[in-house]
Amino acid sequence: MSKWAAIILLLLLTGFGYSSAYAVTPDEQLSDPVQEQRARKISKKLRCVVCQNQSIDDSDAQLAGDMRRIVRERIVAGDSDEQILKFMVDRYSNFVLMRPPFAANTLILWLSPFLFIILGIGMFWHISRRKPKSVTVLNQTDETEQRLTEVLEEMKKN
């Protein structure tokens, strides 16, 4: 029981309990929970152009707040999620998307992991294909083992 209490306390201390806190203020929220849910989802996909490593859903920057307001306005106006994302991309370029799209200038970004995996497999295959240099290694192991038993026996005597 106390173990669980300790774990919960630890999680709270590490900020776990606060991870659901967000920058959206109550007065910006939409009264329709379905629409509000959509707004949150879209906001998470949009980068705060001031702080850059946060989404506008997380950011306390004023400009992020203004962007969230526009996202909600467009939802109420009946725009689709894609239309809203495009609205922001038209103004701030693809940079405003937290997840960069697959495009000519992001080819390296998306393909390099696969390239490295193929390269790694290639090198692994290349190295493992090599034949062992000689067979004396086995004999050496036998000798070493023999020597080990000798040493152990000597230690027992002492």
Binding site: Q52, Q62, L63, D66, M67, V89, R91, Y92, S93, F95
Partner: protein, 179 residues
């Protein structure tokens, strides 16, 4: 043992990545390329900042080469840029228009009272609506507008002597020659 060229491959790849990152670090991440270059100035409706002057309208930006400067009374870098704008307006004859972003009319007017007003006209963009339409990420940002009201160039951050001499002035002279 003979060392084969393939042994060096990981080192060479790592070195390549390192060099790419070293160059990447030199880029200023706050400088996001504008998507609006050569596009018309987005339409806007602004409120007035100064009591004795109507608010900036899209029609004000037609028929001349001008600068549109996004500022705010909360913006520290704008104070730093301000003497430059005053000089351009008063001694170089540049038409500068102001967008007072994320501000109140009172605070904006008080700021212009304190530091001087380089703007032919000012408009209040209280909720960053126009700023977002312009893809603005902070203040100051300055847009170079041609005679047709199209955005031709954008300066992120304060206009420095160097930016004025090497970029803005030559471009404005060129645009001035356009019909």
């Amino acid at each position: 043992m003979k060392i084969r060229p393939i042994t060096f491959l990981p080192v060479i790849i790592l070195l390549g990545i390192g060099i790419a990152f070293a160059f990447g670090l030199r880029n200023d991440p706050s400088k996001i390329e504008s998507t609006l270059i050569n596009k018309p100035m987005p339409d806007f409706v602004l409120e007035r900042v100064l009591d004795d002057q109507p608010a900036l309208t899209p029609a004000d930006l037609l028929g001349q080469v001008s600068l549109v400067n996004v500022f705010g009374s909360w913006c520290a870098a704008c104070v730093q840029e301000h003497p430059m704008l005053m000089r351009l307006a008063n001694h170089e004859g540049v038409a500068i228009y102001g967008i007072d972003s994320r501000d109140t009319a009172e605070a904006g007017a008080a700021w212009l009272e304190k530091y001087g007003n380089p703007y032919r006209k000012v408009g209040l963009d209280a909720q960053s609506r126009l700023a977002i339409d312009l893809g603005v990420t902070g203040a100051p940002e300055t847009f170079l507008i041609d005679k047709q009201g199209r955005i031709r160039f954008k300066v992120i951050g304060p206009i420095t002597e160097q930016i004025w001499k090497q970029q803005l002035k030559p471009m404005m002279d060129l645009l001035e020659a356009e019909s």
